[in-house]
């Protein structure tokens, strides 16, 4: 979502980097670039002006200490990054659990912010951690909001408390109140109250939200905000803060390309932490909000931390350990291993989402968005059409076997050939890695890790840059520049 903002900022910093020695007028120019970028991003003016002034002041203050040596652009880059993290809320806060269950979470926000979907995601998130949430249908306003919550509840396997049919019938305050007693008798340890969307200016409905809050005395009131929101985010957030009040913010629709300035504004002006982010239509597209990750995303550094975490979740311990063992024993990486990896990767979510988290992803935005997800399915189907023997030893794949596989997978023989060729190349690379260690630098570059950016900033460790000695010693690149780089490494 912050991609456009990050590409603008990256531009600003690139021009700063291209200068040898930075002067105060360079800083002014950079600040005005940053201002323009933030304006396009819907950051509230009241938040932006002080932000720019802080950056300017801190950068100017840092200038004299940077006069000799050191990367000055880098230092300013770090100042901006630190300020962004500060505004986005410093350290992420977790939901406060009640001493005596149930823990009550109430959702509030404008119409269409995504409260009902979020209620389901939140319930799934906590159910997966071993809690027993109960969803409460207190949106009795919007036609069939109750049905929607029931459907959502069913698909995440969480019960829904919905004594009233909705569509204008029933009292949302009473439903919320009754849900508590219900949760206590049925021993649910968490209650998530979905409420109707309401405008900040609607005094009557705001009072209703206050009444619901008073009835259930929630441990957390979460304000749900659409990441696409514009300058009105500030007025709305204030209205909700003065009305029902809230303890934390949830950003939705982060999978869009909105620049999400609203997040910066709301966090800064209300001082309330952004606690969760929601980034897709699937009920698992939900995570705790990490300000430092988001800041690094804004600055075009990618979100390696999230990627690593998801990978850990998807690649289950046993399989990974088995593969490592195999690797250590000196056994070859086989097509069966490859299939396992493909399956684990599909578990991590769509390829475009995975690629989007890599550093420098902003530059390949278009390609990433248009990544053909079914390519993975096609590749899988080819491997699945092979016999166990063929998977272990692709050398047995003669013409007739290949023709059979193509038929089984519904692909052309060329597709099978190209997969086998690619796999053989990958297998060769794995063998070399075992000898030399590390991913060849050429591959790290191919992954879009920007030169000179990976190290230092934000402290991210890129696997590809750890082992610098090239594994592929025997073949030298035909490109003179690349060859020079290889020889240097």
């Amino acid at each position: 979502m912050f991609d456009s903002l990050s590409s603008k900022l990256t531009g600003a910093f690139a021009s700063l980097r291209s200068r040898g020695k930075i002067t105060s007028s360079d800083i002014d120019a950079t600040c005005s670039d940053i201002r323009a970028a933030l304006l396009e991003s819907d950051v509230a003016l009241t938040v932006m002006e002080p932000f720019i002034e802080t950056i300017r002041a801190k950068s100017l203050a840092a200038l004299p200490t940077l006069q000799s040596g050191t990367n000055q652009a880098q230092a300013i880059f770090e100042i901006v990054s630190a300020e962004l993290i500060e505004i986005l809320g410093g350290a992420a806060r977790r939901v406060r659990f009640a001493k005596n269950p149930p823990t009550v979470i109430m959702l509030a926000g404008l119409q269409g912010a995504g409260k009902t979907t979020l209620a389901g995601k939140l319930a799934k998130f906590y159910a997966d951690q071993g809690n027993t949430p109960l969803l409460v249908a207190s949106d009795l306003q919007r036609p069939n909001a109750v049905t929607q919550l029931q459907v959502v509840g069913e698909s995440v396997g969480v019960p829904v408390f919905a004594p009233e049919p909705g569509n204008g019938v029933g009292d949302p305050v009473k439903v919320a109140e009754q849900s508590l007693a219900h949760a206590k008798t049925k021993l649910y340890n968490m209650v998530i109250v979905d409420t109707a969307g309401r405008l900040g200016v609607d005094a009557q409905l705001m009072q209703q939200a206050i009444d619901i809050r008073n009835a259930v005395n929630p441990d957390e009131v979460l304000f749900v905000v659409d990441a696409m929101m514009g300058q009105d985010a500030v007025r709305t957030a204030r209205a909700f803060e003065d009305g029902v009040g809230f303890d934390g913010v949830v950003l939705t629709k982060l999978d869009g390309d909105a620049r999400g300035g609203a997040a910066l504004s709301i966090a800064k002006l209300t001082g309330k932490p952004i606690m969760f982010s929601s980034n897709g239509e699937k009920l698992t597209d939900f995570d705790i909000f990490y300000p430092e990750r988001m800041a690094s995303r804004i600055l075009g550094l990618g979100d390696v931390a999230t990627l690593a975490e998801q990978a850990k979740k998807a690649f289950d311990g046993d399989a990974t350990a088995k593969l490592e063992e195999k690797f250590a024993r000196g056994d070859d990486f086989t097509l069966s291993d490859f299939l396992e990896q493909l399956e684990a990767m599909s578990k991590m979510g769509s390829m475009s989402k995975i690629l989007g988290m890599l550093p420098g992803a902003g530059a390949m935005k278009k390609q990433i968005e248009n990544f053909d997800e079914s390519e993975i399915v096609r590749t899988k189907s080819i491997v699945q059409s092979m016999t166990p023997l063929e998977r272990e030893d692709p050398n047995v794949l003669n013409g007739s076997r290949r023709a059979r596989i193509a038929l089984g997978a519904g692909r052309k023989v060329q597709d099978v050939n190209s997969l086998v060729d690619k796999f053989t190349a990958a297998q060769k690379m794995m063998r070399q890695m075992r000898k030399g260690g590390g991913v060849p630098p050429a591959m790290a570059q191919g992954m879009g890790i920007p030169a000179g950016m990976g190290a230092g900033i934000g402290g991210h460790q890129h696997g590809g840059q750890k082992g610098q000695q090239p594994a592929k010693k025997k073949s030298k690149s035909g490109n003179p520049a690349k060859r020079a780089a290889q020889e240097q490494g």
């Binding site: 069939n144 659409d226 514009g230 009105d232 869009g256």
Partner: protein
């Protein structure tokens, strides 16, 4: 609305403007989600106004930024098909219901197609509205192919020779190319039976500059013919709709101002502009 009140006071009054004041005005325009591009255009034109009737000149500047295209719904010889599209949560289903009520009250017969087969209970939501407004709703099962629902609805409304068919579609973020392709397919399939006369993009008034990207990409996919701006009863000024008109020449056709099925108004540019510049 009066977002331009300071602006008007400025150009009405003094003939010399010190730079700081223009900055105040800039702040006000940006604060209404007009966006940096349109804001600087307006300020540039406004700086040229000298003497004469400032109010008339300003109205003219703003008028120049509005689309010159027709704001009334096009009418086909057969059933007029209106597709309603937009990102998630802007109020498409509610707008479809309001539009149906609006057309029905002027004596037209209307059929609705529940082609949002993705969001949980979206079909039920439209059916509830259909009952309230008193129009037939053609629906498939949840998870059904939206294009097939739309096709069935087109066939049915042709049989009924109803005046209008309004197709509700699932909310989709414009950067999801597969979902945009699905939308293109809905339109393509409907056009095997009936011409799609209008594609209305629903824009939430609280949307910021992303609204321009939404309008641009939806237009590339399904040739948007007009906008419905919703949630104008809140504190948002919906300035992004003006920015869309100005940047992409897509006229605002309707505005939504509440949760009841009668809270839909035909967009009146003259009233809108005088509302903007009223002190």
């Amino acid at each position: 609305m009066g977002i331009f009140s300071k602006f008007v006071a400025k150009i009405k009054g003094e003939s010399t403007a010190d730079p700081l004041d223009w900055q105040v005005l800039e702040t006000e325009l940006l604060g209404s989600d007009l966006g940096p591009t349109l804001t600087s255009q307006i300020i540039q034109s406004a700086k040229l106004i000298k003497g004469g009737d400032a109010l008339v000149s300003l109205t003219q500047i703003l008028n120049e930024h509005l689309s010159a295209k027709s704001r009334t719904l096009s009418k086909s010889d057969q059933t007029t098909v209106i597709m309603v599209v937009g990102v998630n949560g802007t109020g498409k289903t509610t707008s479809v219901a309001k539009l149906a009520a609006h057309l029905k009250s002027s004596g037209s017969s209307v059929v609705l197609a529940a082609a949002d087969t993705f969001r949980a209970a979206a079909v039920d939501q439209l059916q509830t509205w259909g009952k309230r407004v008193g129009v037939e709703v053609i629906a498939g099962k949840e998870g059904a192919e939206p294009a097939s629902v739309a096709f069935d609805a087109a066939t049915r409304s042709k049989e009924l020779s109803s005046d209008y068919l309004i197709i509700d579609t699932a909310g989709r973020l414009h950067n999801k190319s597969d979902l945009m392709a699905e939308l293109e397919k809905v339109k393509r399939v409907v056009e095997k039976t009936l011409v799609v006369a209008e594609v209305l993009l629903v824009i939430d008034a609280t949307t910021g500059q992303n609204g321009i990207a939404q309008a641009k990409i939806f237009t590339e996919a399904v040739a948007v013919t007009g906008l419905i701006v919703t949630k104008l009863d809140g504190s948002a000024r919906g300035g992004v709709a003006l920015a869309i008109e100005s940047a992409l020449d897509i006229p605002i056709k309707f505005i939504g101002t509440g949760e009841s099925d009668t809270d839909l108004a035909v967009f009146a540019p003259a009233a809108y502009i005088s509302g903007l510049i009223a002190d």
